[in-house]
Amino acid sequence: MTMNRRDFMKVSTGASGSLVLALSLPGCASVQTGFEPETGEWTPDVWLELNKQDEITFTLARVEMGQGTYTGLTTLIAEELDVDPARIQVKFAPVAPEYRNPFIGLQLTGGSTSVASSWQPLREAGASARLMLVMAAARVWGVDADNCRTDNGRVLHPNGVDSLRYGQLVELADKEVIRGDVPLKPRSEWKYIGKQAGKLDARAKATGTAVYGIDVELPGMVYAVMTRSPRYGGRAQSFNRDEILAMAGVQAAFITERGVAVVAGSYWKARKAQQAVRVEWDFSEALDTTVDEVFEGYRKAASEDPGEQERSEGDVDEAISKAGRVVEAEYEQPYLAHAPMEPMNATAWYHDSRMEIWAPTQAPDLGRIAACRNSDLSPDDVTVHTTFLGGGFGRRLTQDYIEEAAAVAYELKVPVKLIWSREEDMRHGFWRPAMLHRMTASLDGSDLTGWDHQIVGPQVLDWYVRNAAPAQYPWAPKFLYNTLGKVGLMVEGLATPKDVSAIEGSIGYPYQVPNVSVRHTHTDPGVPITWWRSVGYSHNGFAVETFMDELAHEAGQDPLEFRRKLLAKEPRHARVLERAADLAQWGTPLPEGRARGIALFQSFGTYVAQVVEAGIENGEIRVYKVTASVDCGQVVNPRIVEDQISGGILFGLTAALFGEITFNKGEVQQSNFHDYRLLQMHQVPEVVVDIVDSDEAPTGVGEPGVPPVIPALGNALFALTGKRQRRLPLTV
């Protein structure tokens, strides 16, 4: 597998088991460890706090946005600490180097990395703390620590009678020193991993008590709304300030880098006043694009620039020139919105020369950069309190909403909550990029001999590096931020790994074909973009797996057979393909008016094959059933894996059936859920998720459910109608 940009600065955690594993990272003085006599609290490492009252707190450094880190990561540490996960209090981590995502080098939740990157360090942290507690108990009893066991927060004496609670041991445990490696439990002894099926945050979320960003309330708080340029990049020059300030309840109104802020004592008063805001915009640098022009530009670029060679095996040109048959296809995919249910929002309070931020964010350290961008503050002056996230899907990796709240709070010096309307969320997003794919393949008889895939479009990191590069070097002076961003781009592929956001999933083309070429023609129409659940895999999956289906039909073969014979060297791919096909009873007759389609795609280390059963009812595409087989290595929480895969499937179906953001002269034409539709309950198919039992290290599950379902549905519709759709969203 090619290394993803989001894998960069990956550190090998090894199996050292040292208690100070997280503290061995550079610049880590922000989390005090040890025993605190006054509070009776023992902090063995940056993750755990245990006190004399037997309360255990786990610091969660990967945010909870529905993907299940709250339960999953707690389970990892609970397993080795040997405590029921339900007994552990979870708190969200502050910004600190110790809490950076080791796969990414930023304190960022994304890329389906949370369990994979926490698997070893959190289990080691739990095991180390447990061992110190056992050593302390053994010393008290004068027995050999090797003969003591633990059970749900107690150390058990070898005599089978006596025991000590962890809380009784915390002060003594702090004095213990571990020499050598800390063993981890073998799989056979797991009590919670692979078995824990509940969700630790379900109660809070079923009772309305979970605190999301939008729920934060501070004394004396005011509410802000922002009027942004209808065209990305436009700047406010002036507005009817006097008129707005004269409106009932308006406390402030002023121009910021991001638009015109209106502040009032309540959200509704601010929102009503906003209706009267009239802005003179400077559109000289604003987006002026119409979506058709984007694709025209892509086609022109595709023809003029063969692109950077990203993968090359054999000689595709020769294979194509000598082929018995050449098949060509072009696929178009639109801009997509994330549309999480909680609109963008942030609360900021500038006081005592410090900026405090409360926000639903996937990247709190980037939030610090955004919060100080429009003031003389530095990142160290900014504290970010992370809340529950009402969905993320990549949107909350970009911190524009924190920048806005901070800019307003810096002016007003009182707590400010800034809330976006749904319309603003829909129109001022950063999108999954529109992409164009040109595919050419050669067939000799029924053999696929050549595969040429040209990907045309932008790279996400070009947009993301603005805040990401400074966040990696928060000690750098602010006047260097723009330079850091530019340097970050310049050294891409040299000092940092390559941005594969456009090509991921295509360079990993798994089928055994003698001549393979994957090229990327890099062209950026200036439309703001960011990561979107499964990122490049989302559009590459559609192009690759639809074209494979086309080739199967061209070769006169069953699409399952055609794939299977090209996977002899890819057992994990082949296994999920077989299992999904078997479970879905591939090849057996279906009722009149229904057909099946199949697709296979690996992303974020996880192998997923899906069979979609679809038809057309009352002039609409109807999906009856989706069968998925998943190999994600070892499973921490089976229910969450199932939910993430089925949730990914519905997310992918939403994109396949409805998803499209369009621009007219730079303005987004969609506004709310009536014209950017989400899948509804009555449209939900039966979803079957089959999880392969595995001893491999765990890989991601948040995103890999998305890519295969889109081509699998398209392939089913082709089987039904004989008409091939090469543009999304699909139509009847």
Partner: protein
Amino acid sequence: MAFSLTVNGNRHTVDVDSDTPLLWVIRDELGLKGTKFGCGAGLCGACTVHVNGQPARSCSTAIELVDGAEITTIEGLAEGGNLHPLQQAWISEGVPQCGYCQSGQIMTAAHLLANNPSPSRDDIVAAMTGNLCRCGTYTRIVAAVESVAGGVGHYQPGQEGA
């Protein structure tokens, strides 16, 4: 202007603009944050509460239209410290992912069961399909509702928070 309303059994008087949506009164005047803002246009259901026993989209219900009404929010669904059977089912089925839409989902389901204690699968889907969930928890929602269907006959609309 002053408006009075009874929320989860407690009487309140609020002084707000007459066109203020009930949602913002509940959330910011009364401090009950369990009811969520999703779309502001009655399109997603995240803000669903009961007004005199009927489900309503509080984001698009002006306060002047519900003056004097009995309102029930997610915080008022539990009775005497016991969670509503649906809330219990939501926990045991592990329904929530991000959880943001779930207050509205539960309020819609609670109204369904209050009026139809034994709904069919089709009844459930018909009642619930206006509540959007971006995470895709729909299948677990149906399972959770089915798990308590028939078991909440005691639940009466408008009285649940009293």
